[in-house]
């Protein structure tokens, strides 16, 4: 990913800052988009992303996942910042892309509808201090930042629009070293129906 800053006119974009509001679901922190990775319940894509930062420390991953709260998970993450995987700056955008794809596949109707409802407008995470993942206001009308999250969301939207990602898609693990959750390789991620539809078949015979 090219980390060039971009300038956005506020009136031309879909901007989101919090988890509420019409486009709050675009936030990584948004509730109501829980995930099931390696058959483990994860409250949000933000917590999954933070867990991916500490693949060699299962106890940190457990602490993160048990928070069930993305803000708390970020605090936990900061506490252990020195134990971040060494290639984090190289892999974190790929990891975030993967987290968003997982969020989409396991919440397809709701999340795809939300993404498509943004039309073809630029999606921007409005932030007052993070010009990497979002964009910061330079004036009442202009936002400036890398807007990495917004750009990844636009990329995801395009994949839905072209049919590159559909509800039945499988999200494969990233080909990076130590892509681990609790010392286990992260497996293929399926949509929710895959895990649920046959739960009651045990006694069907």
């Amino acid at each position: 990913m090219i980390l060039a800053q971009r300038e956005y006119k506020l009136q031309d974009v879909i901007a989101f800052a919090k988890t509420d509001g019409k486009f709050g679901g675009l936030s990584n922190m948004a509730p109501g988009y829980n995930l099931f990775v390696n058959e483990i319940n994860i409250q949000s894509s933000e917590i999954l992303y933070q867990a991916c930062r500490f693949p060699l420390f299962p106890h940190i991953q457990e602490e993160l996942i048990r928070t069930q709260n993305p803000m708390d998970s970020k605090s936990v993450s900061r506490k252990y910042a020195t134990l971040t995987r060494q290639d984090w700056d190289i892999v974190r955008f790929r990891i975030m892309r993967w987290c968003l794809e997982v969020k989409l596949i396991q919440n397809f109707p709701k999340f795809s509808e939300l993404l498509l409802s943004t039309g073809d407008k630029p999606i921007v995470e409005y932030s007052t201090k993070d010009s990497l993942w979002g964009a910061i206001p330079q004036s009442k009308e202009i936002l400036v930042g890398v807007n990495a999250l917004g750009r990844l969301l636009m990329e995801l939207r395009a994949k839905i629009q072209t049919g590159a990602l559909i509800q039945a898609s499988v999200i494969y693990p990233l080909d990076i070293p130590a892509f681990l959750l609790f010392n286990n390789k992260i497996s293929e991620v399926h949509n929710d129906d895959y895990f649920i539809h046959d739960l009651d078949e045990i006694y069907a015979y």
Binding site: P31, G32, N34, F36, N38, E39, I40, N41, Q43, P58, H59, Q61, E62, Q68, L181, F182, N183, N184, S187, D192, F195, I196, D198, L199, D200, E201, I202, Y203, A204, Y205
Partner: protein
Amino acid sequence: MEEVAQSIYDVIQDYRNQDGIYISTSNIISWGEQFGNDAEFVLNELSHLLPQVYISRRTAKNYIKVHVDHYVRKYSYSSIAAFLSDTEFVNMQAAHKSQSAILSLLEEVLGEQYGESRIKYLTFPKRHFIYFDDLLASGSTIGNHAVQWLQAVDAKGRSNHDKIMDGEITFSISLFCCHTWGLSFQQYRISRMFSSKLSNRINWRWDYEVQNHAKFNNQRLNVAKPMRSIDPIVNTYFGTLTATKYEDYAFRELNTPAQETFFSSPDNRIKFENILLLKGIEIINRIKGDVRPNIRPLGLINPGYKVLGLGTHFFTWRNIPNNSPLVYWWEVPGHNWQPLFSVANRGN
């Protein structure tokens, strides 16, 4: 062998007494002898495990009292009568299932410990709903019932789900034993069918935890879950399974659990698990005709799961779960296998 059989008998002697079944030390020895040269080893290891995982009628009553006391405190009741008048103990399972037996035991506990009765308060309007059961293994029954109950609507068309979200009622699931892998699936199911917010509002409570989620952190693996084998019998059996899901859960990874807290030693775990697995395969091979796809040597499992069974080791005074290894409960005329725990009718 008599001595170890006696120690096992001391633990499980009340198994199905209510059905007129009385296990004897000679039954236990006969069961053990089916393992040939491993008989004494199997009985010794079992005598180590059973005190951890056999729930006698008396223990069940103690557990029920602890659950009731917990809810009285949790919901800040000053008297058991006020708690009972506000509380419904959900009764959704068929009469021969464990829930009815637990509710009968609850009635006994309430009478003996508090001079009270839940039946006395059945017609009172309710705020708290508690679903009692003995075991969540795969979680199918409990998860399915939880969904049904949450979807149920009153005469005004309002669902229990809505009432929980509006803070009008509570829903708790109280268990003697819970498997972490099965729980994970059922919590996911509830969160997807309703919402994660709703799922978080369900109170789960259990006494004994089976940590069998092989992909979660630091699990005890207090189940029978053999390591991958070079035994051709095991590999042939496993290779013939047509199921495709969760194959990576089938075998225990090397060096797990990190510390042995269930079996008498790591070596004895390996030996015991392999004996149960091989004997279970032997039993399956005695089945004439088609083998039902949910039958596995270490207990029943969803047909689509390519695993050897849940390997559940948890037994109660009233029945044995069919998620336990077949060696404990398989009883089919002509199969020349005598179970340790004869199965009560499950109505499946």
